[in-house]
Structures are given as C-alpha cells and as structure tokens.
Amino acid sequence: MKDNNKDIIDTLQEREYQYGFTSDIETETIAKGLNEDIIRTISAKKGEPEWMLEARLKAFRHWQKMPLPTWAHLRIPLIDFQDIIYYAEPKPRKKLSSMDEIDPELKRTFDKLGIPLEEQMALAGVAVDAVMDSVSVKTTFRETLAEKGIIFCSISEAIREYPDLVRKYLGSVVSYADNFYAALNAAVFSDGSFCYIPKGVRCPMELSTYFRINAEGTGQFERTLIVADEGAYVSYLEGCTAPRRDENQLHAAVVEIVVERDAEVKYSTVQNWYPGDKDGKGGIYNFVTKRGICHENARLSWTQVETGSAITWKYPSCVLAGDNSVGEFYSVAMTNNFQQADTGTKMIHLGRNTRSRIVSKGISAGRSENSYRGLVRIAPKADGARNYSQCDSLLIGDKCGAHTFPQIDSRNRTAMIEHEATTSKISEEQLFYCNQRGISTEDAVGLIVNGYAKEVLAKLPMEFAVEAQKLLAISLEGSVG
C-alpha cells in the first residue's frame, strides 16, 4: 500500500489549484506602503465622510503601537507591511446600473468562478455581493431585498448612504484596538459587505459575498457588517478564491455581526484562498477576526469549511451577552502540503442560560500543521450556562501535525461544560475495503473525509454543501498513509 499511496500523493500534489487563473483586467492601484497619506487616499477614493477618515486614522495610529501577535501555533514569515498595495480596483470605475456595463473580462472571471451574477440566479435564490480586489463589483437582487426593507450593499456604499446605521454598529463588536490585524483592517479596509435586516423580517434568500484577490502585490482587507434587528433572520455565505502566485498575499478581514433580541444569523464560509504550491511556495496569509454579539434569545451560528490559504489565523466567536442566547461553531479545517492553520472559536457566556456548541473537525495531510484553539468563558453572572465542545482530528500520512488548545475558564458554579476530543487516521483496512469494491484510493479518501466532516457539512446551505464536498475531495486527496 505504501508505494501505491506514494504514487497517489505525487499525482495529487501536482493537481492544480482550480481557481488559480488571473484575469486580464485593467487595475488601478495606489502606491505601495502604508502611512496616513495612503489612508487619506483610500478614504478619498471612496468618497467617505470625515468621521470615517478619522476612525481610520485613529485605528492606524493605534496599530503602529501594536506588536505582531506571536501566540498562535504558526510559523509566520516576516511580513513587510510597507511592501503591500493597500488599494486596487478594477478600472474604469463608473456607476454601474446594469449587468451590461460590467467589464466583460470581469464578468468572465465571475462566470469561471461560478458566481451567477445574472438574473437567472433567481432560481438559486442567492443574492451576491462580489468583491474583486478592493471594490464591490455588483450587488444583485437589491430591489427584491429592498421591498422587505433589507439593505444589502457594499460597505463603502453603506458608509455613504446609511451613515447612521454604520456609525452605530461599525466597530461595536470588533473594536479597532481588538488585535493587530483588526486594527490594520480598521485603518485600511477597502470594501466588503453590509447587511441590515429590519425588525421581524426573515430574509427570503441566502445572502452571499464573494471575495477574489486578483491584482498582484495587493492585500485584501474587507470589512463585513451584518445587523439582524429584533426578531430578524438571515443566512449569509462567504466564498473566497485567489489566483496562484509565487508571492504570498495578505488577507486581513474583519466580520462583525450584531444579533439583536430574538434574531438569528447563520454565517457560512467556504474559504478556498490559494494555499501555495506543493513545496509551500506562495499562497494567501489569512488573518481574520470574526465575531458576533448575541442579545437576549438571539442565536448565531458560524459554519466554516477552510481548505485554502498558506496560513489561516481565524477564530469566529460569539459573545453571548443576552440571557438565553445561543452560539454555535461548526468547522472543518483541512490542511495539506505545507499549509498551516490555527483556527477555532471563542464562546463568551455573559448572560444567564446561554448555550454554546462547538464541533471542530480538523484534517491534516502532507506536511501541514493544523491546530484547534478554543476558549469557553463563563462569566460570574452566567447562571445555568452550558457548553458542549467536540474536537476531532483526522491525520492522513505521518508527516503532518494536529494540535488542540482548548481553554475553559468558568467563573460560575452552575455552568455545565463538556469537552470531547478524538484523533483518528484513515486506516489501511478502510482503504482496502473501498478498493475491493472498485473504488480508487483517491475517491475512497474523499469519501472517508466527507463522511468524517458530514456533521459540519450538513450545516451548510444545500447548494454550498455540495460545493464544499467537492472542494474537500479535491484539496484533500493528497496524502494517505
């Protein structure tokens, strides 16, 4: 089996990253580097009001004083923050009023990515905000959503058109001082999505943002803000890809979610940034801060399928502020070749009878390192809080690593906290059994991994679950041992 597997590993490692194409779109960028002038330029290009510029500058000044975080189980090469272009936009930039006005090359890019920008996507019932490099290109279905009072647009537009809403919520969950990358994002964020669901409204379709880094030497810093007002519901999906490049590109996003009383938000991510080649060259550095706050009786559910990026640093978290609120985190994080992931969640129980559930499925292959890092904190006043955590690791081959760093901090005697963890390998017996039924080792690995991740995949909206399954099979089949 060893030799056989070696062949498979070899062939699979040469498998191309499917989304590694570059689009030949004229891009307008600003000069490399980061200083107050650059921030003023970004803000001016976006036609932002003064308060926004002030907020950016405040964040930038704070960021300059912050040390680079080093606590994660990651080997992060030195990043020269002055060697990055902080703003790139597809050219020419004019007000787009219909699909026909979009650069055909850009449209082809989104077609290749399978992003249905056309009206035909009505069938799929998905509203998409596509962010290419730094600019939100097109938000579909605006009118349909507007009838219900739902706002779904780019964050730049929201800053201009709904300044009161944005000012009220932006930075309320993730402050600029939260951490190094959040501060950087607050200073230079270029675009992203904004979503507001009014009181008592159930969003009739999945909302989706698609992020793509295209231009060379650029970083992408999106800012997403989702507000579900009292009793509202929304399911939101985010997808990401980037071209293959030998250099590393930085992606430092912030996602903030406010879930008001009795509201519910489901946030699903399928992250497939370019992971680098089989020797670990290139790939996206993904340093993301995602956090939501739940008020009374509110529910926030994070589901993530992480297959891409050279380095992933990401902990979608829930602050369970209101009584009886619920936080959930379902994650599949897969690493292959030289990828590194340090990902997990924080569940902060502040209110009474708050409940949280964590299901983390790590899959490590090749020479990758995959860590789960979690914090469950029960505050003194969180009577009757409950947490259940399950952290499973699946190892493929004998050169990869799986690590678990769970932290529990309970300050209330009535809290109930459960933690379960398993580590397993794909066994030779399982592969032999599949082979004997005519299933190739490659397919068998995909099958077994998808079976392992099923509990999490089942949480994704149907059409994305299918995509995620394929993605797992493709990115993972790399190494069997």
């Binding site: 089996m1 017996e429 599949c434 004997q436 005519g438 079976g451």
Partner: protein, 250 residues
C-alpha cells in the same frame, strides 16, 4: 475463470502460502476448509490484491489476465468480490452512497452508463430483498453500528449489487445464528449462476448444506493437501482434520 499455480506469499519474513494451486471454472462452487492458521484468509486477501502480503512466486490468472499485475480496484471492477470476515466501518459514509460509487465504477469498467438515481434505488430495493436486509440499514453509514449478523448480510447484499464473476466469501458464516445463516446462505445460492463462480471459506459443514460445493479443498500450512467432493466436508465434520494432517505428515 481463476487459475492459480504454485502461489507463494508471505508477510515480512514469514511465508504463509506455500504453493497453492487451484482452478475455478464458471458455474462452480468451491469450498476451502482447514484448521485455524492454515492460510485460508490470507489466500482470499492475496487473491483480492491486499498489499499486506507479498507474492514471492507463482502465478495467477483471472478471466485470462495476469491477476497479480492488477490493482485491487481493477480486480474488483473485473468482477472479483471479497466477502470480508471482518467488514470495516466507514463512519459518515452512507451505505447507499458507497454502493452507488462502487456499482457505477463496475459499470464504467464494462462500458455502461452510470445508473440514474431512480434506477439505483430500484436496484437497492431489489437486492436488499435477496438477503432480507432491513432497508433502514442502507441509509446508515457503512457497517457502522451493524450487528455481526447485519454486517455479514450486508456483505452478501453488496455482492448482489455488484454481480461479481467470482465471489470469494471469507468465513461469511462465522458469528451467524441459525436464521441469519439460512438467509445469508440462501442469498448466496440465489446469486449463483452458470456464468459465475463462488469460493467459500468456512469452518463448518452446515453452510455447505445450503451452498452445495462441487469441490472441497483442505488447506493446511499454506498448501492444499487434499481435495474432494461435498462428502469430504461431511467426513471432516465427523472426524476432524487429524486423519488428513497425519497423512500429510507422513
């Protein structure tokens, strides 16, 4: 169909098969018996292509092709089926999904179109009836939480689904109660045709009451030391292996 000549196989330094010769023709049923540790399961695994064992010498052809040069899955797609003594669990992978891939791989090999969902479900229903397999089991994960009897029935269900040319059943009767044994054995018999063949590895004559063998072979210390017709199994049941082993020793 299957021709094995002087096959030697070992695991590490230890030789387990020490010169097996066997010919199985279409329409035949062969039974392989023998004391524990004689190499019966190893023979089944080696024929299926398991790389836990190394074939050190000898040859084998299957449907006229060199068996030993084929991968495990190629052998399976050509119609070789191994009924496992200890079927493994594959958590989270539904039996239906697993079988759909397996069936379509076999069809692809034969140059046939994959089955549509409706055709596949119909096939599943029809074949699960062969072994009276509870249809609920096919929606569960592969062998996960199945009882011993259910696992064995599930093996024969898979055999029915894949319609093999040559089925090698490794102690399919072990661990079965009387009713389950009848169901499993009847299932195997119903699948038997003039254009396929079955090799059953067993410890007990009682299986052979249902699956009547054309030949019975006794395997001992990695060699077939005696072959006979179905009456041999009856004699072994009565007298044990001693008389044969003693013969062999002399």
């Amino acid at each position: 169909m299957l021709v094995v000549k002087d096959l030697h196989a070992s695991v590490g330094d230890k030789e387990i098969l020490r010169g097996i010769s066997l010919e199985v023709k279409a329409g035949e049923v062969h039974a392989i018996m023998g004391p524990n540790g004689s190499g019966k399961s190893t023979l089944a695994s080696v024929l299926a292509g398991s790389d836990k064992f190394t074939v050190t010498s000898g040859e084998a052809t299957f449907m006229g092709e060199d068996l030993l040069s084929l991968s495990i899955e190629e052998r399976a797609r050509k119609g070789m089926f191994l009924g496992f003594q200890y079927p493994v669990e594959i958590p989270g992978v539904s039996m239906a999904n697993f079988m759909k891939i397996a069936v379509n791989e076999r069809r692809k090999y034969r140059g046939e179109e994959p089955l549509t969902a409706a055709e596949f479900l119909r096939l599943m229903r029809e074949k699960s009836a062969v072994v009276e397999l509870d249809s609920k089991l096919t929606s569960r994960a592969v062998n996960e939480g199945f009882s011993g009897g259910e696992k064995k029935k599930n093996e024969i269900f898979q055999m029915a689904m894949l319609d093999p040319t040559l089925a090698i059943l490794d102690e399919t009767d072990s661990g079965l109660d009387i009713d389950a044994l009848r169901i499993v054995a009847t299932g195997v018999t119903r699948l038997h045709r003039e254009d396929n063949a079955t090799v059953v590895i067993t410890h007990y004559q009682r299986l052979l009451d249902y699956i009547v063998p054309d030949f019975v072979h006794v395997l001992y210390k990695g060699r077939i030391i005696y072959s006979g017709d179905k009456s041999l199994a009856l004699r072994l049941e009565k007298e044990g292996y001693d008389w044969l082993i003693n013969d062999y020793k002399e």
